[in-house]
């Protein structure tokens, strides 16, 4: 076998690394749905949904930070947050989400933490329910469902009564005290229609957050939902949420 000299070896190494980097960039690129919205009819082709793979989340909180920066969310409130579940061997459950996990997690002071049987992280955000309680109760019609099935708030119309905050069973809404109006996750509506993923999806290093068009049978999200077992939160309330959780544990509320 022909011996390669040092220079050739380094060259090969650089090419290989670059190849892997560029290749992985395409392989793991998150905006797999090509998007072009020019008219109202184009919007009808979309039904935005979200998948959360609880088995992948590592609780780094990058999504929470990305969301806060992208959407200018105040420090006290959260459009998205991550919960940590620690289930002890005797069945006791410890759940926490310090500062919504915006500073990730530190080891907690849970007594007998050595006795933890299993633990996992669960990202939460607005479920953009098909039958959303928040849009039902908004007295002025400021909370509404867009044509492409995203629950949004018209900030110029909202009176800040807080009825929607009460109605949301998931604690996803809050009154932005500075603006006096309700606020919540929009799936980064300003990004998704440019073909860009929501900030949280973009920031997730583990692809635990997946978004996409539920109406497109070829979309990544539709394929996942066709293959995996999943659940949604508080199904008994009939809100019909659109955030689908892979490996949803019964302790997750």
């Amino acid at each position: 076998m022909e011996k390669i000299d040092r220079r050739q070896f380094i060259k090969l190494g650089i090419y290989t690394t670059a190849g892997v980097l560029v290749g992985s960039f395409f392989a793991f690129a998150k905006n797999d749905d090509k998007i072009e919205v020019k008219s109202y009819d184009d919007l009808l082709k979309f039904d935005w949904g979200y998948v959360i793979d609880t088995s992948k989340c590592i609780g780094c909180g990058a999504c929470v930070r990305a969301c806060k920066i992208e959407n200018g969310v105040s420090e006290e409130y959260f459009r998205t947050w991550v919960e940590r579940y620690e289930i002890r061997k005797d069945g006791k459950v410890w759940v926490d989400s310090p500062k919504g996990a915006s500073e990730s997690f530190k080891q907690n002071d849970y007594p007998d933490s050595t006795e933890i049987g299993k633990a996992f992280f669960v990202p939460k955000l607005c479920n953009h329910c098909y039958n959303s309680a928040c849009t039902q109760v908004c007295p002025v019609g400021a909370s509404f469902e867009s044509t492409d099935k995203v629950v949004l708030i018209d900030k110029k119309r909202c009176v800040g009564c807080g009825y929607c905050v009460q109605a949301c069973p998931y604690g996803c809404r809050y009154i932005d005290e500075e603006k006096g109006t309700a606020d919540k996750c929009t799936f980064c509506y300003h990004r998704i229609h440019k073909g860009l993923p929501p900030a949280c999806v973009n920031a997730c290093p583990r692809n635990a957050r997946i978004y996409g068009n539920l109406k497109d049978p070829e979309s990544k999200i539709r394929k996942i939902l066709n293959q995996r077992r999943y659940g949604t939160l508080k199904t008994d309330l009939g809100t019909n949420p659109k955030c689908y959780y892979i490996e949803l544990d019964m302790e997750i509320k």
Binding site: V93, C138, P139, V159
Partner: protein
Amino acid sequence: MDTGQSFVFPNELHITWTVMIVLYPYITGMVAGAFIVSSFYHVFGMEKLKPIARYALVSSLAFLLFATVPLLNHLGKPDRALNIIVTPNFNSAMSGFGFIYMFYMLIVILEVWFSYRVDLIEKYNNSKGIIKTIYYVIILGNTYDNEITRKYDRRFVTVLAGFGIPVACVLHGYVGFLFGSIKANLWWSTPLMFIIFIFSAIVSGLAVLIFLYQFVHWKRKLKVNQDSLDLMAKWLWGFMIIAVVLELMEVLSIAYERTERWAILEQLISGKLKFSYVYMQIGLFSIVPFLMLTVTSLIKINIKLKNFLIWLSSGMLLMQVLLMRWNVVIGGQLVSKSMRGFTEYFPGYFNKEGIIVSFLIILIPFLLLRGFDKLFPFFEKKEKLDKVK
């Protein structure tokens, strides 16, 4: 599920509906209750209530004029408050608010006007200068006063009062419905809520009338109409029994069902609400007035003592209803929707929605009522003849 530790969703650290939303149903409760009492006379012809019918009606108006103040103070965007009428979303229970409120206001104002038309004409005739002009505007320039007009006035009042009863029930029952229909809230979500609200409204309406009636008569050294007072006290006794039993039955049915939510509500009742609900609302401010009113209603005792007990009971029941509003509105928000813990709430003293402002908001309708007495005298002149010498 084991809730060995308290967890709330990060957005639940601050509660959304503050003490202002406690005051709103409290004030509308008194509005609806006082109106219904005035209708007992106007519609059902309970002659014994005649001496307080007009005063009840004016009280209702005074409270009604201020009912929206706590709401406006609470809204994030009070300048957009009229959106609720301009762009209502009729899927929302709250969107009906503006219309029901305005309709009810119209009924109460018209009823007050017809009730006091004769008095206002008399005042117009006896006054001079700018005051005369003001009265002229209030009576809409109509100075006719004879048997026929009086007969029509009475007829209008009866019809308006008749319409007013269902509208008063709707106004307040609807507030209960706003809470009871929130499926996301474990403590509120019960179809009993609006019924409880209607009965507690009648209790607070009766209580505030009795309380003020006795207070005003004591202050002005007038003799109370014992028949009216006894009847109102008995009504108060009856309605408070129904209201409190309903409140307890609601909790009992949740407890007995033992669904998932009871696990956390049990902790709410025995923890965060132990003082304000168990000890205060049910213990001190329901059982004690119940016992006192039982005595005044069933046993013959010294009139002075009896009237004092009635007055004290009515004051305590006013507190009971306020506590009930607090325990419902605030209590419901203390429970996390994660069903794993509780949040904290203290309104603060000097905040925009704090304790000082709350006291002012409660106080102003009473001051307004005092002012109304000048314009719409509560009690018939004949009573003044009974002045204690």
